[in-house]
């Protein structure tokens, strides 16, 4: 049913209506293992609503979300947790866990042993540049540090291919909701480099971003959402056009090629 790389996330014609307002209108997009898909759009475009529907926190009024061949809400929660890592915008954790303990919680769905888990926590903290915080009290961290710690937690959750005896599971999917909102520039790039690295290891990555240049530099495809509709979809070259950005985001821009890598750079006109 689901073999090869050709399966992960299929969002098919999702609509959400709340108190008479159409928050999402027939939204479709896909994310395949190996690619990074960026969701862009102005505030109130429906990005967070879409995120909630995809993560099974909000039911859709129309359409469906197929994750590895099954509707996302039909999966056994424990099985799904082995394949689906989700980083929310912010966390309400206010108990004095040590940072290492927070990250270790990410391993709780997995059946690996203590030592392997400890090694994964160590590597994940290293990856997000937070190893020095490992023994610190989580509640004393800054906003950006907390965001990196939660990224590490979500990474540990889907660190390895799910090992299931039934082998009914599929490739992993990483969903990041504005993972860079509290980060300094160095860590913003680091976070997206991590997303790319996971994509290289057969993970599908969907990331909500506001920074067009980060999206351009690190994603394979952009999905531009506006007023609950997908208004543009394609490679950064296809989507990042002055006229479209003027229309959807109401900004006057010039698009120039990056002097080294050639990807389109968006600069204010």
């Amino acid at each position: 049913m689901k073999t090869g790389n050709n399966i992960s996330l299929d969002v098919n014609g999702v609509s959400v209506r709340r108190s008479g307002r159409l928050l999402l209108d027939n939204v479709s997009f896909t994310a395949r293992p190996g690619e990074v898909v960026a969701l862009l759009g102005p505030n109130g475009a429906g990005k967070s609503t879409l995120f909630k529907v995809v993560t099974d926190e909000m039911p859709a009024d129309g359409g469906d979300v197929i994750f590895n061949g099954k509707p996302v809400n039909d999966w056994d929660l424990g099985e799904r947790a082995l394949m689906l890592g989700i980083l929310p915008q912010s966390s309400s954790l206010n108990f004095p866990f040590a940072v290492g303990e927070v990250v270790l919680l990410g391993r709780s769905p997995c059946s690996t042993g203590r030592e392997e888990n400890a090694a994964i926590v160590h590597k994940a903290l290293e990856k997000v540049d937070a190893l020095h915080l490992k023994e610190r009290n989580y509640t004393t961290l800054s906003g950006g540090e907390k965001q990196r710690v939660h990224l590490a937690r979500v990474l540990t959750q889907i660190w390895t291919e799910p090992q299931s005896s039934s082998s009914s599971l599929g490739p992993r999917l990483l969903l990041l909701d504005e993972p860079t909102s509290a980060l300094d520039p160095a860590h913003q790039h680091q976070t997206l480099r991590i997303a790319r690295e996971f994509a290289r290891h057969n993970v599908a990555v969907v990331v909500i971003l506001h920074d067009l240049n980060l999206a351009s530099q690190y994603s394979d495809r952009l999905v531009m959402l506006c007023n609950g509709q997908v208004r543009a979809e394609g490679t950064p070259h296809d989507v990042l056009k002055p006229a479209l950005l003027k229309e959807l985001l109401d900004i006057d821009v010039c698009i120039i090629p990056h002097p080294v890598n050639g990807y389109p750079l968006v600069v204010a006109a």
């Binding site: 993560t55 099974d56 926190e57 929660l77 424990g78 099985e79 799904r80 947790a81 082995l82 689906l84 890592g85 989700i86 929310p88 966390s91 309400s92 954790l93 206010n94 108990f95 004095p96 866990f97 040590a98 303990e101 927070v102 919680l105 990410g106 709780s108 769905p109 959750q157």
Partner: protein, 350 residues
Amino acid sequence: MNRENRARLLTAVLAVLLPLIMVLSIVTGAVPVGLDSFVALLKSWFGIHVPDAQSHAQAWLVVEVIRMPRTVLGVLVGSTLAICGGAMQGLFRNPLADPSIIGVSSGAALGAGVGIVLTGLLPVALVSTLQVYTVPFLAFLGGFGATLAVYKIGTTANGSSVATMLLAGIAIGALSGAGMGTLNYIADDTMLRNLTFWQMGSLGGATWEQLTVIIPVLVVIQAALMSQAKGLNALLLGESEARHLGHNIQKLKVRLIVLTALGIGVSVSVSGMIGFVGLVVPHLVRMTIGPDHRFLLPASALLGASLLLLADVIARVVVSPAELPIGIVTALLGAPFFMSLLLKQRSRIG
């Protein structure tokens, strides 16, 4: 030393401390019982011949009929209140949640009060047998209703707001207070004495018959709550995060609400309203070993049992040969502690 090892050490220390405090509780009180009498009693239990058994007779009677059941009840109630407090703080994702502060205990007390007055209206022969079952059940219903109400009012998807939760607790406490007042008004003298006892708390009524009913119940509740430790840990991250980690949040929440309401309902029905144990104990433990419920709940159970026994010893000693209601002692110790926590959290309550 890492936190897991520190947690094991603390648990071991508390496990050694508890039996010592139990002995202290057994030998202290209005009737003097020497440590030698207690040791002799232990010997006789193990079939070792005690030559001067006659001289210990009175002390043994006091120990076997009064002090032992009282001490065992203290251990059970103290550990249950502490575990329920810890679990409730996890459920509300709020370190200030405590059964006595958010109205759960008063809801349970109202249930118990209704039970006492209702069964009191029945023929005398039926009263005692019925009370054994009806009162704990109604106390559970009262505690369950209160927990559910506070949870529904005070908790959103982003956790519970301290302010809303405390205000909901005040409202429920006031309602229960009104109910209790009405019961006091219609109660006769015997019922009134019973009701007062429930409102202030006491371990004094302990009997072995009662213990045989509640020991299995409370042990099962405690074990069931401890088995939710992983879910509670995940829940501290937030409800959606816990779901994403593979937990069925709806089931987990229902389980936690039912179990804590049962634990508190049964505790209140046998010992009355004893406040602040569920707040102070998990807090002290968390300060030492962190919030991981796999260690927090067992350590809280041990510390809760020890502290409640100590409070009971104080209650028996300070005005001996009379005794203070234990709820007064725990409130005198717990209320300042709660105030200091409020001061620390003040900026966040806003």
